[in-house]
Structures are given as C-alpha cells and as structure tokens.
Symmetry: C2
Subunit: 508 residues, 2 copies
Amino acid sequence: MKLLARKTDVSVSEPISAINRDDALEMGVGPMDRVRVTLDGTATTSVVISDSTVPKGRIYLTANIMSKCGASDGDSVEVSYCPLPESIRSIRKKIHGGRLNREELDSIVGDIMDGTLSEREILAFVSAFNVNNADINEVADLTRAMAATGRTVDLGPGPIYDFHSLGGVPGNKITPIVVSIVASQGLTIPKLSSRAISSACGTSDFVDTFCDVELDTESLKSALEKAGGVFACGNEDYAPVGSRIIKAERPMGIDPRPVMIASIMSKKVALGTTHLLMDLPMGEGAKIPDMQAAEDFSDDMVALGDILGIKVECAVSNASQPIGRTIGPVLEARECIETLQGKGDPLVAEKACAIAGIILEMAGFDDGASMARGILSSGAALSKFREIVAAQNGDPAVEPSDLVPGGYVKDVHAKHSGYVQYVDNRSIVATAKAAGAPFDTGAGVMFIHKTGDIVEEGDVLFRIFADSKAKLDRAVESARSRRPMKVDIRPVEHDPAETIMAVFPRKG
Amino acid sequence: MKLLARKTDVSVSEPISAINRDDALEMGVGPMDRVRVTLDGTATTSVVISDSTVPKGRIYLTANIMSKCGASDGDSVEVSYCPLPESIRSIRKKIHGGRLNREELDSIVGDIMDGTLSEREILAFVSAFNVNNADINEVADLTRAMAATGRTVDLGPGPIYDFHSLGGVPGNKITPIVVSIVASQGLTIPKLSSRAISSACGTSDFVDTFCDVELDTESLKSALEKAGGVFACGNEDYAPVGSRIIKAERPMGIDPRPVMIASIMSKKVALGTTHLLMDLPMGEGAKIPDMQAAEDFSDDMVALGDILGIKVECAVSNASQPIGRTIGPVLEARECIETLQGKGDPLVAEKACAIAGIILEMAGFDDGASMARGILSSGAALSKFREIVAAQNGDPAVEPSDLVPGGYVKDVHAKHSGYVQYVDNRSIVATAKAAGAPFDTGAGVMFIHKTGDIVEEGDVLFRIFADSKAKLDRAVESARSRRPMKVDIRPVEHDPAETIMAVFPRKG
C-alpha cells in the first residue's frame, strides 16, 4: 500500500511507525506487527502502531526510519506486512526454553550486527540465554557466530598464547610485563586489551602514554613478526557484535555468563588463539566473589575452550585491594616500566611472574614462575618490552621519568594511628576518576600505604594527582566523603601479599 | 545538584535524560546510571546519558519525565544519583540464574505496576523467567505477588468453580452454556472472560450483545448471589499487573509459560477460586501444538494449583477448525442461545457438555457429561442462562431472532466438487476481521459446510456478513486471497466430531 510519509519525533531506541487503523486492517497488520517501508528499492522494517487518529493514507515515521529508507517528509512510500524476522522467532524459541542451533544463532547475531534487532530485543535474547537455559554447545555456536561478524586473522602456524583478565581490580598494570616475559621466550602472544569502561584506567589507557595501541590488522601482524608479542587495543575488527550486545546490556547492568564468555572467546577465535590463561580477580565487588564461583566459571571456560580447540586455564587472583602503588594512565605506565627495571612494588612483579609462569608452563616449560622471575631480573623482559614498544611506534628508550603525572597534587592523611584495614576499590576508583582519569592521562592516585600497613596519625595514606586545581579539589572532596582507606587499631589478619590463590583446572 | 530542565523529544518507551559529562562526574553518575529528578518534592527517576555537548548546568528531559515531576521548560530541578532499584537487582539475579523469593518478586511486580520499570526491563524479566530458569515455587510466589496488585474478593465459603480457555480456536461460544449448566446445580461459578485481542470475537464481545459484561466487584457479587454464575468481562480490578506485562511482551510475540500461568492463576487467586478446569485447544497454530505439550502444560498447572490451594484439571480440546457454525459477536450470540434451546450445531452442545461435565465431576457428581446433556435438554440450562442474563441487566427473554447480523451479505462458493479438507483458523479470522468483527458487532462469518463435508461445485461454503458494502468487499477480497477453506477429492480421515481428546491429570 502506498502511504505518505510524515516525520515524527517519537522514540529513538525502537523502530516504531504509526498508521491508520483501517489501513492496517487492509494490509492485514495487527498491533505491534512489523511493516516493511520501501522507497525506490531501499527498504527498512518497523514495528507498527495503528490508531484512528492517524489520517488514512499516512504513515508517521521516526527520523531514524526515514533516513534508513532515504525518505523525506511527504514522500510516498510503499508499506507492506513484514513477517517476524527469523531471528525473533529464534529468540522466542530460546525464551520458551528451546535449544538454538548454529544457524539460528547466526541469524540472531547477524540481525544484531545490521541493526534489525532493537536493543530491547537484544536484551531479551541476552536475558533468556542464561546459565540455566543455555548449554555449552550453544555457547560455542554463539561464540563462532560472534567471531564470524568480523575479521579472522591467520598469525601463522605456531601456538598462539593469550591471557585475559575479567577485570574489576584497579591498578592491574601487569599486561606489558607478562607479554614481554612470554614473548622473550619466542612464544607468540598478540594481547589485545581495552580502554577503561567504568574504571579509572584500562591497560590501553596507560600503554597509550608510551606507544601506539590502535593497530590495524596489518600493523598487528607486522609488530608480531618483529617482536613476537604486542600489547595493543582490541578494536571493532574482531567480533564487533560484542560491543553492540554490551551496549544493550549496559542499562540493566547485566552480563550473563554464557554471553560474557562467548563474547570473550569470540575475539580469541578470531585471532586463532590456541592457549588462553584467564586472570580471575576474586573479591568483594569483583565479578568472581568466591572460590566456588571461580571454579564454576573455570569449568565453563575450560569446557568451551575444549569445543573450540583452545586450551584454557584460569588463575584466581587477589582483588581485595588495588594492584601495586598507582592508579591512572601516566602513573601506571611509570610503575609498569619501573617493575620491568626491577624497581617498584614487588607485588606487581610477583603477580606478573605468576601469570607469565602459568603461560610458560602451558607452553611446556617447567617451574614457570621461577623462570619468569629469572627472565624479569635478567633484564630479558625489559629488552623484549623495548622491542615491542618500538614495534608499536613508541620510543624504545622510554624511561619512567619521561612520564610526568599531573602538576596539581594533594596528600590524604591518616586521621589516627593504627593498621590500614582495607583499600576500597570502588571508592578509590571514584576518587581517581574525579581527579580526571583516564581522560586526563596525568590524573590518578598513588598509594604511600596499603592494607596491613601500620601508620601514625598524620601519615600520608595516598596522594592525588590532577591536571587542574578544580579537578584536584573535586577528587579531594570525593576522598573526603567516600573514605577509600580505613585505619583502626585491629591488626589485619589476611595476607595482602598473596597474588594468585588457585589455578583451575587443578593439576592431577 | 540544581540543573535547568530542558525538554527534548527523544524516546517515549525509555525514561532517558541527558546531562553534561562534568556534571555527571561531579554527581558520581556513570553512563546509563539512574538519577532522581525532583521538583518541589515530586521525584521521578531516569536513566542518564552524559555528553559534552549538553551545556553544563542543564538537563535534557523527555516530555514524559517532565510531566512526572511536574517540571516545565526552564525550571530548576534537583538532580542526584539514584541507586538501581531493588527490583532491577532482582531481575539481574534472575538473569544470572538465581532464585527469587516472594519479597523480590513483590518488588518487581510492584515496580511494574507503578511504572518504575520500563518495558525493556519488564521484557528482560519475562525473558529470564523462562521454563528452564524458574521453579514452580517461584511461579507460585509470582502468582501471589500479581494477585496482590489488585482487589481480592470474598465470594463466600463454598467452593468456587471456574474454567479458562487458553484460546486460539475461533467460534468458541461455549462459556455461557457451561456457566449455565454448572450454576443450575447450585454451584458458584464467577466466570470472567476477555474481549478479542487478536481474534475476531472474544467471549465478552458476543455476551455484550445481549447483557452487560462490565461488572464492578459489587455488581459481580450481587449477580452471583442472585444467579450463582456470571459470564462477565475480566477487568483491571483483579491482578491488573498482568496487562502491563502483556503489553511489554506483545512486540516480541512471546508469552513464556511461567509468566503466562502465573498471570492466569493470579486472577483466580484474587477471586478465591477453589476448582479450575482449563480448556486447552490443541492444533496447528494454537498455543498447545500436541498431546505432549498439553500434558507438560497440565503438569505445571496442576502443580501450581496444588501450591495455591486450587484443584486444577485440564481438558485438551479439538482446535483443528472453528467451533460451531459462526464467528462474530451477533452471530455467535445467536448460535449460543440456539444451542441452549436445543438447536444449532450439535458439536457446540457436545463441547459445552463435555467441559461442564468435567466441572460437575470435580464437584463430586458422577458421569458429568451425561448429566450436563440432561441439564441442557431439560431446559434447566436455558432457565439458568435467562436468570444470569437478567442479573447482568440483559433482557431475560432474549431470542436468537432479536440479534440481527449485518445487512451486507455475500456467499463464498466451492470452486469444484469434493471433500472440505480443512477450515484454516487464521485465515477465516482474518476474513471475519476484514468484515469488521469484533467492532462491528453484526460482522462475521457463517459456515454452511465444514471439514469433512462433501460439496458440489458451486455450493455455498460460508457466508460473510458486514455492516457496510466497503467492509463486505474487503472481506470477500480477503477470502479470495487467503482461501480459508479447501476442497479436493481426497476423503478426510480424521474425525472432526471429536471435541475433547484427553483430560489431565489422567485418572488412575
């Protein structure tokens, strides 16, 4: 049926149009059915509202739909009944408890990619695809479907190593150290990290202060050929559908495990990973609250890896307080390079060597952690680091002193004497963000004391860095109201020095 | 923080507002977090987008949010961070595979009722609450939470009988007959039906042609006291949250079983039902496709009933073609009264007596179907029907001839000789709707022949009634393109006369 298009300003997240009730009846279109709107061969679909207040012969369209089919106000467009897309039938099947095959998951993932499915529909899919309603073979098919939405890269015949942190612990600056240790032994490790989403500093945010992180596929391959490892930034080349799904999940604050692990693994599949070590930060507020959750998560990851031909191990790490002494791009970059130089907080080196050691063991070496410590103390890791920095167009001679934090500085002091009871991750991140991190690269927080330390009244607990007086004040105000560190007289019992608490699957 | 409200025309289905990124940072509000917007003590919440293009000190609000907090363009409103509502935490817990308790389900249902949850969030809940991710005790708690959103009625001490059809078969005009048979034996049966949603005629649509269907609680009680039974229209007095959930489900075309059965049972709980017979129309295109699905559905309903103190049985009925000879309000009303008078299609009487018979057996009578046939043929059902019509303010002396179908009539003829192979429910409903049903009460379809009949070329298959020439033409065109009945030379093997195929739970 030919209808006259009229633009309306209703709704952005739902593709909705409105037509007259009689026109709807004539087309056989019921309430909330879909119609196809076509102009000069360019078609788009929309969900339709029929109403007697819409004049006959008219269709009200949102700006988004108008532009999708190239229509302007007053154009005559062809409108016809459009059956539900196959992908919606598949989502319905999942909601009703059915099992989806690869073809059905392909249609869902494809329709998420090309915008046929609205965020509401993506969210319905994600909600239905929960741990009790999806088996590991479906998760594997979803993983492959997601990987197929972007490029796949052939990085050569050898085993491809990778590691991936679930996140949730601030100051986790170990990536360049781990990559350098592993690559120094001739292993291939194309590590792609991300920028901060809700944190104060992602790995790519601090690496960006001393070399390029945005590598296209050709640069990635070339850097890998030169140095054997990279610490670049993941991008939309690989399994790009993942970020669309995350966008739909965000308002609900959800990330159900089957979709989360498919999303992680889809990027590994795209890069041809053969061996993957997962870092699972465990602690209050992290995605992994306790050891049972870690083991469950590990079981799923290992089983998924088995189907996809990727050997997976999971290291449960301590997320009870930030890693090392700094939070914020420039501050973390400095601490990372200092650690490679044998300086800085020994716990950063310890976690990096533990993680790198497990990867070395996956590659067949014995006693990986000791080996990693040797590689670090010999300077071999630092040399490899400088090689990779050069391959990523950075200055290979970069020194910590080249990286200058923000010029506005303020110390936060202990109000009384005693033991530092804890550093609250969430609050300290809020303070670092209030100071401007990660956008202001010099902004952040440096710890003078951490959990378990004995302090005297008036001692400096941590130092805030900012690029402007206003942001410094804002961060100080945040620290004052949130109290990220607590001091009292009770001794602290747990050992904050433990970096890796368990590795799954447990050995023989 | 005080911000200046500015109206924007973006989005109706999501409560979204936009603020400046620095303002967001200052309030500690991240992307897609919620803020509370308050003016003169009236508060509402919205999901927030932060963007550097929004001027500092401003907040862009949709018209919907503006009106919820009573703000006008240019007003200064108080904006503050708002933690996620408990209900969203509970929905997330369900999506992550957790089990919800009554308190959590109450918070979800309450926030659906008062509009705190958007349709997207309701849809996420419904999708997560699927057969593999909800147990029967959770469904019972959801049922009770839904029942608590409206009135509950005390209809006296005696057992309260009810029956409920899952729908999907056109022409199913048995409700007043069943109610009259059951009530004639002194049993209480407050039957609430619905109007058509996507069909051509709901029970309330045809009952409305000869008596009132919209009864408030007091009228319902009074009619029940007078007559023992009613055939009224369900309304928003009882478990009103159900219709909000259905509205959110509609665009996806879903109705997951745990939510569907909770929705059905919540209205029964509100009315104090003690014995419920479910009519499960089975056939292609119906909600129950086969006997296994019927038994599964029945198992769930019976188990849910056990927890709620409602004895449930399920009758699987034949939905392979429409029930009786007519579709459309006036036509169905006529056929219903004719059946009560011992005339009309014997299959209508047969289905009504089978259903009523099971209810009579639930009440302790023997051989209910024979008993029901006796009640119908003796005229006792007709007398009770006239009593109930009077109690619902209708003319107790109503005769079929008082009900006059549309004056524009057209016959549809067989194109060749042979057996009627089938009547396609979906197509014949489309034809009746094209003729104007259910809004034009005189519009509809009357069958001269049905499945299995032998017809000669040129015989009338069915007759279309409409209130206007235009709608008649439209219906004829619909019948021409959709071909709701098919004739060919193969004999028809299945027995279209079978009305009830099984009753669950099966008797030992």
